[in-house]
Symmetry: C2
């Protein structure tokens, strides 16, 4: 069934958990990873708390090909991601020379003070590699299989674009959606049988509730085009047959 | 500082992790819990996988007052939440009599077959209490401190509304936002000092990037109105003083 590459995401920030900011990065990362052939297995949203970040990153990096984090890499006291990642890997965290020089030059050119706060953005776990930030210069970074990126959506997206060509990808999980006017309760039994008969596919059923009516989106996923096609045809035949019975 | 009541959320569903469906429930739950005085500490999005659900629920219920789950309680083969919750609590999972009768009557009235698939929606861990579903009847359920709700946003919201008056709430974390034209890098040092001087508050700094310009939203949170006011005034005075220096 091809190679499987998995990922997890850690969203870091009290502002998401309080509802003040609505996350926009989870859906974007999910879309992009699916498109390139990396399976997103789990997402955790944690507080600006070093222990919480370390726990999430250490568990998830041990069981996934990649871990992506967003948030907490800015210049203020509540930006603790660099220290947390360093602690997760038991590495010292200090100013990284190249990042420091890039930022120093960037602010000097613009006549902006290179304050202690701004210097914090050059701090990384020892040996971390940069993830370029074309928007506001301060780089994200990468330690082993963990990729640390900004929480501001425009910057996160730009960092991810820069990162993507360097990642190993797996065989794409392709999918096809079959809309059904039938509610889940009518198709459920037959759909379960189709899933059993097509073990190389993952069949999902998603109830939709719009304007007071239910309909169902059946989604068939597979790494094999043939298996996908066979299961899709079985779903369509099942829907046709049940519609005729109505 | 008043009583603290905490919660975690588990979002269950392959469709969120694949990006096909964009979650709308996390932001809603975060808003509602903040409004009533329950601190949302962590959110996990997991796949339609029994092991993943059991792991998340068991870890989170042990360290929070409440756990709320969304998704996976419908009639189809990929709706495995009831079985997973039963396994998490080591309880048998079977048809619950009252739910079964409610659903039987509901479908009989409408001349709709009470299929094996629909019967699945009456399955619950033994001893679970109902969470009413005013939209499509099939109830959510509650075992100890875990509340299992639908993933369809309209139904999730209705279930949460029904549930809310029964929950214990803590002293509200109140918050105030101070918008600042200054970038984080300019205020960062001073803001860190204000945080240290006001330990009964949590001060967050959120960089905003709009139309090519950065600005910053400083958010002060506290369970004490006095502490909130004092820290807010300190932030405002700091911004004024830095603006004059410019």
């Amino acid at each position: 069934m091809g190679e499987i590459v998995t990922a997890a995401m850690v969203v870091i920030g009290d502002e998401i958990l309080s509802g003040r900011t609505k996350d926009q990065n989870i859906g974007h990362l999910a879309d992009i990873l699916t498109a390139v052939g990396i399976d997103l297995k789990e997402v955790r949203i944690v507080a600006d708390d070093e222990g919480a970040i370390v726990e999430a990153v250490n568990i998830l990096r041990a069981r996934n090909t990649y871990v992506f984090t967003t948030g907490g890499i800015g210049p203020t006291h509540d930006d603790i991601t660099a220290d947390a990642i360093a602690r997760a890997f038991d590495l010292p965290c200090d100013y990284e020379e190249k990042a420091f020089r890039m930022l120093e030059e960037h602010y000097a050119k613009r006549g902006i003070e290179f304050s202690e706060a701004r210097k914090r953005m050059a701090r990384m776990p020892e040996g971390a590699k940069h993830i370029p930030n074309p928007i506001s210069i301060a780089p994200g970074f990468n330690v082993e299989n963990v990729y640390v990126m900004a929480g501001v959506p425009a910057i996160f997206q730009a960092m991810l674009d820069a990162l993507l060509p360097t990642l190993k990808v797996g065989t794409k999980l392709i999918s096809v959606a079959v809309p059904s006017p039938l509610p889940e309760g009518t198709m459920g039994g037959a759909l379960g049988q189709i899933q059993q008969a097509h073990p190389d596919t993952i069949i999902g059923s998603y109830p939709k509730y719009e304007e007071g009516r239910f309909w169902t989106e059946v989604v068939v996923r597979s790494r094999s085009e043939e298996a996908l096609k066979a299961a899709k045809e079985a779903v369509e035949a099942m829907i046709d047959s049940l519609m005729k019975r109505k």
